[in-house]
Amino acid sequence: MSLNRRNFLASSAALAGASMLPRVAMAADTIKLGSILDTSGIFDAYGKPMDMAMRLAVGEINAAGGLLGKQVEVVAYDTQSDMALYSQYGQQLARQDRVDVVHGGILSASREAIRQTMRKTKTPYFYNVLYEGGVCDRNIFINGVTPAQQVEALVPHAMGKSGKKVYILAADYNYGQITARWIQKFVADNGGETVGVDFFPLDVSDFGSTIAKIQSAGPDLVIAPLVGGAHLSFFRQWAAAGMNDRIPLASTTLGVGNEHKVLTAEEGNGIMVAYNYSQELDTPANTAFKDRWAAAYGDSGAINELAVSNYQGVMTWAEAVRQAGSMDRDALIASMESGLSIDGPAGKITVDPKTHHAVLDVHIMEMENQGMKVIETLAQRQPIDTQAVCDLSAKPNDNTQYEINI
């Protein structure tokens, strides 16, 4: 395209006009929703779908007339998978942009980097991710499944399909360590025995010797809370050794970032998991959600557990604002604590007033042809791990992440 003076002037006029638009929008009175997610870098497989889900939710809220008669405006920052940027952008959202609510954070480290800032500045904070449980703070709301909700469902099912001897392979950081402890507890509760536990740093990608070790221990079942791309090699090498036909596998993390679409069907088939959401959930709510997603983004393939959690988090917040009838933080918390619930793509989600965690459906699933087939639905499971240690109605000033002793 050649650029002459006339169309240069025309396009710069258009640009100048476009750049004035946000100001017009800002001048109007809006509700500001802060979003802080890794939409680039090594965690963007999680962050990008979460960002898409947040924008979809806000778009739907605005299309339905906004909240309290105002439009919701998104103020989003990309933390580039860098934990240091979380504290910086967290400060910026709370102190400079003065947003009304913050949704976001993916890894537990990122949540802890911004949680205290939100608490100090009295900015309500929603962490919409599956995590290790135990956070007790009146200012935060969490709607992801915790290990007890998930593991308690998964372990009896998987042991029923295999046997009593269980071998655990976990990621070597707090999520994996705490989850491994929960697995051991539920294996024992169900009359089983843990014959081995191995932890792996996030960059380990060679599991040959581990696979041999597992065979010499001779378990009936392997449960693998492994995290990230390097650990994905385990499932691949397990299948390459022909073990997938011999010892059944279960996982508490595989599929959260749509990893089952990266594994081939032969590698993934039969792996047992338990989550709040599956694309294969055959409910009218999920079908409608996938249609809306596809209408917005062209294809619904990117939807995963975390995206749906984020969508449901934004929708829960919106419902709480409607019921509170004001943007005041204490009014919002009071309406969240009133036993509020919404119907999301993954079913009914109720806020647990005592812990600010969520009561939700957990689906036991099996991987089949790069999808997650729902085997059994356990309705409305309580976050019992956090409930055991956290009671915000008795101690509203609590500000701890409890390490759970089993």
């Binding site: 990608s205 040959g208 994905l232 691949r236």
Partner: protein, 288 residues
Amino acid sequence: MDLIVVILVEMLYAVASLILISAGLAVVFGMMKVINLAHGEFMMLGGYATITAVNLGVNIFLAMLIIAPIVVGLIGLITERLVIRHLYGRLVDTMLATWGLSLFFIGLATMIFGNTTTGISTPIPGFTIGNYQINGYNFFIIVVAGLLLIGMLTILKSTRAGLIARGAMQRSDMAAALGYSPDRIYMATFFCGSALSGLAGAVLAPLVGLVPTSGGAYIAKSFITVIAGGPSLIAGLFTSAGFFGIVNQVFTFAISPVIGEVALLVAAVVLLRLLPQGITAKFFKGKL
């Protein structure tokens, strides 16, 4: 008994994979004295070349053994012409330049393939040894590493091209005086080194989930192996890969994979304290 066989296979496999990931670096760093911090990224590109070719319907062995080395070799050739050739003999500058290259390749791969994990499954089924199932692909890697060593030895020792290359690496001025262009020889050697890195990345691709930053996982191990190997190219590669692979697997089986990795690093530190010039400065002196 079965377990001993399995452990032996795993040890051989660990040694073989160290040889594979270090061979390209041994040529580029060991022979040419170019500190190639983009070595891991060459491997990563080899992996992507394989996966792309397989997804386009090419036979997986053809993709791994032919296409990936050629693609990465050509990328290395372009890199050498544009960047590296201006920096021969300037160690620190090549370090900086190749580090920049590694960032460039990571960015490029992210743009083309996206920052998500991709992969293909292994083409060889697992098989049974007594009560154990093992990964059949391990044998393929052992065979490839063995053939690679023999091939390198043959070329360097018994062909005229190998002789010229070795000569030019030792005294480029003498090679030039005898009528060989050091510039051309360096170019060809860098091509071979890059192609070897590409081969390694390609052969390991079915075992891992590949992301654009995958290269970082290999770089430390390959440098340790090459530096601990010392001045002799092949003997150094073989002895240090053998030593580290066995140490790593013994501790992995006895304790845990984490301790296995720790043991490898501790062994490297101790080894370099005792033999600062590398294994082959003391043993196998003068061998290739």
